[in-house]
Every structure is written in C-alpha cells, then in structure tokens.
Amino acid sequence: MTATTIDPANDTVRTGRLTETTHIPLSRVVRVELRKMFDTRSGFWLIASIGITGLIATIATIAFAPDQYLTYYNFAKAVGYPITVILPMVALLSITSEWSQRSGLTTFTYVPSRRRVVWAKTLSAVIVAVASMLFAFVVGAVGNVVGSTIAGTPMVWDLSVGHAATIVLGNLVSLSIGVMLGMLLRSSAAGLVMYFVLVLLVPNLSSLLAASQDWYAKLQAWVDLPFAQTSLFEGMHTGAQWAHIASTVLIWIVLPGVLGLRLVMRSEVK
C-alpha cells in the first residue's frame, strides 16, 4: 500500500493488517543484535579495526620478524592477537550501550526478557569471534605463504586443528570477560576501564606477587585467568591446565557473571 503523508483518514496509523503475533524467535533477536554491533560508526570501526590491525600485523611480521619466525602458527598468532583484545570490547559495549546510550528503553520493551537479550548479544559476539578467527587463520595462511616465499624459507604449517580449536576457545574466554563486565557494570566507561585493569594491570600484579611470594606462585595458575588462558593460546598439554582454566573461569567469569545477570534482571532501565 502507498501511504499518503499525514492525512488523518490514512489507515497506516492503525490498519489491523498486522494483528497476528507469535513469540519472537531467538534467531531473530540474535540477527538484530548482530546488526546493532555494526550499524553505528563506533561499532563498525571497532570491528573493522580487527581486520585492519590483523593485516598490519601480518605485514609487520613479514617485514620485521626473523626468518625462523615465519611459520603459520606465528602468523595466525599475530593476526589473532587484536581479536583477543578487541572482541571482548565489542561484547562489552553491546551490553553497556543499552544503559549508557539508554537504548535499553526501547530494546527491553521489544524483548522484555533481558536474559534473552543478553544471551542474544553473547551469541552475536560469538558469531563475530568465529568469523574473525576464520579471517585470522586465512590471513595467517596467506602471510605464511607470502612471507616464506619472500624470505626464501621453507613453509612451516605448525598449527594443528586441535591447537586451533583451543585458540578459538581462548578467544571465547576473553569474550566472556567482556560479557561479564558488561552485565556487572552496565556502563561503557566503567566497563572499558575495568576491562583494561583486568587484562593489563591484574596480570602484572599477579606475576609480581608470584615472583616474591612462594605460596602465591603455587596458587597463581588456579586464580590468574590470563595466566591460565596462555596455555589455550600456546597449546594445551596437561589435564592440570584444563583444571586451571576451569578454576579461573569459575572465579573470574561464572561467579561475577551470575551476579551481573541478576543485576541486569533487577536494575531499573531509565
């Protein structure tokens, strides 16, 4: 139908054509939340920066890294590093902007279940994460081929599927730090500050403490998330490493995440 401006007799206002309603499927909420991650200038460039820094990292590796360093694992690692740093921010801002930009006033009236909205945002971030890592593995492969050819070194494909999977898992753990902080703080500024405190400051303090205190050195792997996470990126070898992951994820992500979800459910959206 063609709507005609603001004629009061125009039935666009209330047509009765669209009365049938069914439950909103989760897939639709995920699709819309995914769209919302890209549809602002800041969101778009934040995600675009993953690709841009990934490309820069590849070129830098080719240009500056010593020849024996030109292996697939090192390329994939260089391209993947920005993902590890930036993706948690994408997930965090996706949640906090509903409060900081106050768009939650509409989002939570379209989908009253806040648990569903947060879950959809998490799934959207996972989709972006998986897509970015595929990108990293492909760019890494191209970098490896080009780099080895230029340097005249043999091509080394030293990344197993299993190792690639733990790298993906390591990035998903990072991403859930963003989700947890987003729910807990519900403020973009506070969330970003806490994120950098958690991933930059806390690990340094932790290693200082471990260097000086024997009792903590033994405990560190069980309570220091980035420390435990390193094995996911470098390669898992022992069951103890998995136990360390489980313990630190419980302490830093599950417990505060449960608290954060309660706050999200209860807080007043103004």
Binding site: A3, T5, I6, T12
Partner: protein, 299 residues
Amino acid sequence: MITIDSLTKKYGASTAVDDISFTARNGRVTGFLGPNGAGKSTSMRMMVGLTTPTSGSATISGRRFADLPNPGREVGVMLDASAQHAGRTGREILTIAQQIMGVPASRVAELLELVSLTPIEADRRVGNYSLGMRQRLGIAAALIGDPSVLILDEPANGLDPAGIRWMRDLLRDYADHGGTVLLSSHLLSEVEIIADDIVMIGHGRIVCQGSKTELLQAAGTVVRAADVVALQRALAAAGLVAIVSEDGSIRTEADTVSVGRAAYDGGVMLTELRTADSGGLEEMFLELTADTRRERTAA
C-alpha cells in the same frame, strides 16, 4: 485497554508512586497529567516492565507486559525520544524495530512518511536530530508494529504548535480506530488539546480522574452579556452563584445549560457563553497538586 491496579513503587523510605488505579479505555486518549516528579514516568516504566513495582499490577488487555509474545505488535511504547544510540540513523532505528517485530520492511518507509520525516532526514544520525524530530521518530517506532495500545511519555514535548496539532489528529484517528492511548504530560494545555480522559497525579497519588468533559464542567462556565447587571440579576434569580471578573465576564460553577436558561428566563441577551477553559482546569490542576503538597507537609 490498560488496567492499573494499586500500583506502588517505593524507593527506600520515599514513595514515588502511591497506590494508583485507573483504566485507559479502548477508543479513548487518556492524558496522564501531573507536575514534574509526580510519578508519571515511573508509573509508565512499571507498565512496560522496565521498573519492578513494589506492589500492585499493570496489565494490557488483561496480560502483563512481560507475558506478551511480541510486545511491539501489541503495545507501542515511547518513554524518552532521546533514549537512542546517537550514532544510528533514524531509518536504522525503525529498521531495528521492524526486524525485531517481524513486520514487512515496507513499514519503515510508510511510517517515515506518516511522521513526515523526509528520506534525507531519515538517513541522518539521531544525534543531529532536534527534539521535535526525535519525538516524530519515537512515534513512528511506537506505531511500526501496528499495536492496539500506545504508551507515550511526554510525546508533545519539543513539538511546535503545528506539531502538537498533528499529534492530536494522529492520536485522535488512532483512537477512533479503536486504539487505546495513554500519554503523559506536565502541561495541562497539551492534555486538554489531545486527551478524552484525564488522570491527574501529584506526588505519586491520583488526585482526580474523569473524562475531560466532566472535569471541564466541574471548572464551571464563563458568560458575557452587553448588560452585565441584568445578567447578574438573572443568574441570582436562578440561584446561581456568580463572580464578575475584571474583564466584565462572569464566572459561575454552574454548567452552560443552566446559565443559558437563567439568561433566557431573565430576558438577557448573551454575547458569549462557554465552558471555562484551561484557566479553570489549570486552577484545579495547581490547586489539586498544591493540596497534595500540603497534605504531605502536614503528614
């Protein structure tokens, strides 16, 4: 239909919304009127599940908002037109609403046209919108799911007189098609232009409610005659209490019918006979809200 039953919200010791009950009916525009800080926005947030009530309930066509399968298709909500991500375009905000509600994509262009936002304006970021444009966009987002109920917080805020008139026509038409409209305002003149029913709230309590006609009648009648003295005599003869204003008009608490009959019986020619307008209701508005304030101080 919106049914509010003993809705209460307490923040610690203070009570923002104190046991309010009313019904916004189908086919009517209900104005939720009160001074700033009276509890209008808190009440509306409770209606749509953004704030949990301390006690009481709000239902829409008999169901809690949180239980609606696809709320946007049944209730159009605009609580704050400025509460949008400033970096999204107007069109994008409508597209998000259209996609989440699962209505045809053509609705976006239809609604933009309905609220008179041009394609160029629609592609600008809402951070650059004037308040009036945001209100129009908010109305479009509320209407896009073709809901049967509208809940609008201060929708006329930021609109120019032509915009308010446009909003009145739009909401009038919506109500005439059977829709229910609940809108809030802290300006009596706005509510008087747009609403059929008025619920007046002060300090979290309902101070009066009824149809606009009833409330206006309660505000009395203004009457003028060439011969003021003769008119006064005629009104007195009919037993009506009348007060002469400085400008020569006479105010009385009686309705227009009794005043007209009294003048006719007294053989007085009238030059004006009408229901006391905003002046009367405004007085009541101020008086009623001042009353609650005094009660509070006394208590």
